[in-house]
C-alpha cells in the first residue's frame, strides 16, 4: 500500500541532506563540546557554526541569544517557568491565549499552583485574539506575555508584530511559541520585539529532541535544568552535537526562497483539497479561515455528521495519515481545546473535524488521492 503523509504539523520526515550531515557528524565529531581537548574543540566548532546559522535565521543580535534545547516543549517550559522564577519579585501576572499548545498551557497551569495569576485571552471563530483585550489585560505586574506565532491545529496566525509593539511598551517580556511557524514564515525577533522564542527542529525536516530557545541578550531567565555550565549556564547537559548540526543543516536548506515556494504550494493544496471535496458533493467547512494570512501548512476541516475517529481510522487503513487533535494515554481522541475555544463546548465541529498538514515532500497528486479516499469513505 502506498502511504501518504499529511501530518507534518505533528512531525516531518528528515531531509536526506540532514541525515547525511548528522551521520557525518556522528562519525567524525563525538567529542564533548565543553572539553578542552582536541575532540572537544572539534565538537565546539560544529556547535558554534550551527549556533551562528540559527542565530541568523531569526535575525538575532548575537549568537549567544540562541540556547539549544531538547525541542519545543523544553523551550516553552524554560521560557515560561524560567521567566516567572526570574521576575517574580516584579509581579506575578502572566498573559497567554486559550489556544496555545499544551507545552505552554501546562506550564501556565503549573504557575497558577505557584501563586501566579494567568489571563487566558479568548479567541473568535477564526482563532484570533483581540489586541484590545491584550492591551486591557496588561498590568504593571504583568511579567510575561506568551502568544504563539501560529496555531498547530487550525493554522491561525497571530499578529505578532502588533503584539510585540504593545508588549514592548509594558513591563512584560514577550515570548512566542514559533514551533509551527519557524519553518515557513520569515521570523525577525528585532522587527517584532520578541524577547523569547521557541522552536523545534523536527517540524522542518530536522531531527527530533532538538530545538532552540531564543532569549534576548539583556534578559536572564532562571535555568530550569541545573548542572554543567553548557549554553552559558542557561541549559545544563552535554549538547547533542549531531542533532544540532542536523538542525542547522535543515535551517540552511530552508532558505527564504524555499520557504516562499512551500507557502505557495501549501496554499494551493488547501484550495485543491477544499474545492475537490466540495466538487464531489462533500459537506465540508474550514475551521478558522482559508486565507493567505494563516499558517499555510495546516488546514482543519469540519465534515458534518462524520465522527473524527471513524474518518481518521478509515483514512489510515487506506494509507493516508492525517490527524484530529490529540489522543489520550489510552489512544482515544480528546476534544480539541482549540476548536472548543473557537466554537464553544457544544459545537459538533469538535468531534467531526480532521487536520491535514502539508510538508516538503507532498505533491498535488497526494492531495488528489486524499480527495478520492475521503469521498469514497463519506459516500460509502
Amino acid at each position: 500500500m502506498k502511504h501518504i503523509y499529511l501530518d507534518n504539523a505533528g512531525t516531518t520526515p528528515m531531509a536526506p541532506a540532514v541525515i547525511q550531515k548528522m551521520t557525518d557528524t556522528m562519525t567524525a565529531t563525538f567529542g564533548n563540546a565543553s572539553a578542552t581537548n582536541y575532540y572537544g574543540r572539534q565538537a565546539r566548532f560544529v556547535l558554534d557554526n550551527s549556533r551562528h546559522v540559527i542565530a541568523q535565521s531569526v535575525n538575532a543580535q548575537n549568537d549567544n541569544e540562541i540556547i539549544f534545547t531538547s525541542g519545543g516543549t523544553e523551550s516553552d517550559n524554560t521560557a515560561i517557568v524560567g521567566t516567572a522564577l526570574a521576575r517574580k519579585d516584579l509581579g506575578k501576572h502572566v498573559i497567554t491565549t486559550s489556544i496555545e499548545h499544551e507545552a505552554v498551557l501546562k506550564p501556565m497551569h503549573f504557575l497558577e499552583t505557584q501563586g501566579f495569576e494567568v489571563t487566558y485571552l479568548p479567541v473568535d471563530q477564526n482563532g484570533e485574539i483581540s489586541l484590545e483585550d491584550l492591551k486591557c489585560s496588561l498590568r504593571d505586574d504583568t511579567i510575561l506575555v506568551s502568544i504563539m506565532t501560529g496555531n498547530n491545529e487550525v493554522g491561525a496566525k497571530m499578529p505578532i508584530h502588533e503584539i510585540g509593539a504593545i508588549v514592548a511598551d509594558s513591563n512584560a517580556w514577550f515570548h512566542t511559541d514559533a514551533v509551527q511557524a519557524y519553518g515557513l514564515l520569515d521570523i525577525d525577533v528585532k522587527r517584532d520585539n520578541i524577547d523569547l522564542l521557541s522552536t523545534s527542529a523536527h517540524k522542518l525536516n530536522g531531527p527530533k529532541m532538538c530545538g532552540f530557545l531564543y532569549c534576548r541578550a539583556d534578559h536572564n531567565y532562571e535555568s530550569i535544568l541545573k548542572g554543567g555550565d553548557q549554553e552559558l549556564k542557561r541549559r545544563a547537559g552535554t549538547e547533542n552535537i549531531p542533532a544540532i548540526a542536523g538542525f542547522a543543516e535543515a535551517v540552511k536548506l530552508n532558505s527564504s526562497e524555499v520557504k516562499f515556494g512551500h507557502c505557495r504550494n501549501y496554499y494551493e493544496f488547501k484550495h485543491q483539497l477544499v474545492d475537490g471535496l466540495k466538487n464531489n458533493g462533500i459537506d465540508v467547512e474550514v475551521n478558522g479561515k482559508l486565507d493567505e494570512g494563516e499558517l499555510p501548512h495546516v488546514i482543519n476541516l469540519w465534515f458534518k455528521h462524520r465522527p473524527s475517529d471513524v474518518l481518521l481510522t478509515n483514512l489510515d487503513l487506506k494509507g493516508i495519515s492525517a490527524s484530529a487533535g490529540s489522543a489520550c494515554t489510552a489512544g482515544s481522541l480528546e476534544p480539541s481545546h482549540v476548536l472548543t475555544a473557537m466554537y464553544g463546548k457544544g459545537s459538533p465541529r469538535i468531534s467531526e473535524s480532521l487536520r491535514f498538514s502539508f510538508g516538503a515532500f507532498n505533491t498535488a497528486a497526494d492531495i488528489e488521492a486524499v480527495i478520492t479516499a475521503l469521498t469514497a469513505i463519506i459516500k460509502k
Binding site: T313, N314, L317, C328, A330, G331, S332
Partner: protein
C-alpha cells in the same frame, strides 16, 4: 490455502491474552486484521493516569508484534448511557445487576460492531470463550466455549442473530492453557498477563466505596425473619442474596452457624439475615424472569420444555422446566431441585446441551407458592 487477505476482521482487543491470541491467530490465517481497543470508562486517577492506559499499551505492543494496525475508540458515552445508568437503576431497586451482559449487548456487540462496519469489517472477532455455528438456512446458534471453566456464553446470552451474524470467536474452541501456550510461543507481550477480574469500570477498587460515589448509601437495620435486630447495614445495595462476608455479626443466635443475607425489605430498608449456609430462606424452587432473549428461534421447543440453566456465571447447570407465556415476554422456571441464592437482577441462562438458547433477567424467586423476599 484459502486467500483471506481481502477479508477484513476487526478484533476487539482489550489488552488481555485472550484477545491478543485472537488477533495473532487471525493474522496467521492471512486475514486483513485490524485491532481496536475500546475505551468505555473515563477513570483518571489522582496522578492523572487513566487506568485504561496500561491495557492500551499492551494492545499497542501486541498489535505491533503481530504486525497489524491498531486504533482506540471511545465508547464512554455509550457505556454510561446504556450500561452504567441501567446498573445504577438496578441497584436503586435493591437488585444485583450484571453489567457485563449489558455491556456485550449494548457496547461490544452494538456500538463496536457499528464502528467495525464503518471501517469496512467483513467480520468482527472477540476473545470470548464461546462458539457459533450456522445452519444451512443461515440461522446462528451460540455454543459453549470448549473450556468448561472459561465458558462465557452466560454474558453473551442477550445477543440477537444480527449481532452474532458477523462474529468470530477464534479461541472459543480452545482451552485457556492452550491460549496461554500460543501466546508464549509467539512471544506476545501479554502471554503472562493476569486475567482481569471483576467489573471493568470498578477494577480492583472497593466496591462499596465505588457505589457510594454514585448512590447515597441509606444505612438501616439488619433483622432476622422474626424481627430481631442484629445490627446495622450500610445500605441495601451493598448486599446480595446469600452473601456472608461483611455482615459483622458473630454467632450469637440459636447456633454458632455464620450469618447470611437471606432477603431485603426495601420499604422498611431492612436487610434480612439468617443463620447457616443452608438456611431454608436461601433455597428457591422456581423463579420468574422477563427481558427474554432467544438467540435462535425456539419454535421447535414449544412454550414448555425441560432444559438446563445457569443462574449466575460459572455455576453448574441445573435441570429446569420452563414455561413461557405466548408472546415470549415472561418465563416461569421450575427447578428440578431447590437452588440456593437466586438473585434478582442476574440472568437466568438456558442451555440445551452445548447450545446456549438465550436468557432472561430474574425478577422473583419462589419457594413453592411463597415469594422469597429478595427485593
Amino acid at each position: 490455502m484459502v486467500d483471506n487477505s481481502h477479508t477484513r476482521v476487526v478484533v476487539g482487543m482489550s489488552g488481555g491474552v485472550d484477545s491478543s491470541v485472537c488477533a495473532y491467530l487471525l493474522k496467521q490465517q492471512g486475514y486483513d486484521v485490524v485491532g481496536v481497543f475500546m475505551k468505555n470508562w473515563d477513570d483518571t486517577s489522582d496522578s492523572g493516569v487513566c487506568t485504561a492506559t496500561e491495557d492500551y499499551q499492551d494492545v499497542a505492543k501486541v498489535a505491533s508484534e503481530i504486525g497489524i494496525p491498531y486504533y482506540s475508540v471511545n465508547f464512554e458515552k455509550e457505556y454510561w448511557d446504556r450500561v452504567f445508568t441501567y446498573f445504577l437503576d438496578e441497584y436503586k431497586n435493591g437488585r444485583t445487576p450484571n453489567p457485563d451482559v449489558m455491556c456485550n449487548k449494548e457496547v461490544k456487540f452494538k456500538a463496536f460492531l457499528d464502528y467495525a462496519l464503518e471501517i469496512d469489517a467483513d467480520y468482527v472477532a472477540m476473545g470470548h470463550y464461546a462458539q457459533v455455528s450456522k445452519d444451512e438456512d443461515g440461522t446462528i446458534h451460540l455454543l459453549r466455549g470448549a473450556d468448561d471453566n472459561k465458558d462465557q456464553t452466560y454474558f453473551l446470552s442477550q445477543l440477537s442473530q444480527k449481532q452474532l451474524e458477523k462474529v468470530m470467536f477464534p479461541i472459543g474452541g480452545m482451552q485457556k492453557s492452550e491460549v496461554r501456550r500460543i501466546a508464549a510461543k509467539a512471544g506476545l507481550a501479554t502471554a503472562k498477563k493476569k486475567d482481569s477480574t471483576g467489573i471493568c469500570f470498578i477494577g480492583e477498587r472497593n466496591f462499596r466505596q465505588f457505589l457510594s460515589e454514585f448512590l447515597p448509601a441509606q444505612p438501616g437495620k439488619m433483622v432476622t425473619i422474626d424481627g430481631v435486630v442484629k445490627g446495622d447495614h450500610y445500605g441495601l445495595m451493598n448486599y446480595t442474596i446469600g452473601q456472608r462476608r461483611g455482615l459483622g455479626i458473630g454467632g450469637d443466635g440459636q447456633s454458632n452457624d455464620p450469618w447470611f443475607v437471606i432477603g431485603k425489605n426495601l420499604e422498611k430498608n431492612e436487610l434480612l439475615v439468617g443463620q447457616g449456609y443452608e438456611n431454608e430462606h436461601l433455597y428457591a424452587t422456581s423463579l420468574d424472569a422477563t427481558k427474554l432473549n432467544f438467540i435462535a428461534p425456539i419454535d421447535e421447543y414449544g412454550t414448555d420444555f425441560h432444559c438446563t440453566a445457569k443462574f449466575r456465571y460459572r455455576q453448574k447447570d441445573e435441570g429446569v422446566t420452563i414455561h413461557l407465556n405466548d408472546d415470549l415476554t415472561k418465563v416461569i422456571v421450575d427447578f428440578d431441585r431447590p437452588v440456593r441464592a437466586i438473585t434478582p437482577g442476574q440472568e437466568v441462562v438456558f442451555y440445551d446441551g452445548e447450545e446456549c438458547l438465550g436468557s432472561g433477567t430474574i425478577d422473583h424467586a419462589y419457594q413453592k407458592e411463597h415469594t422469597l423476599q429478595y427485593v
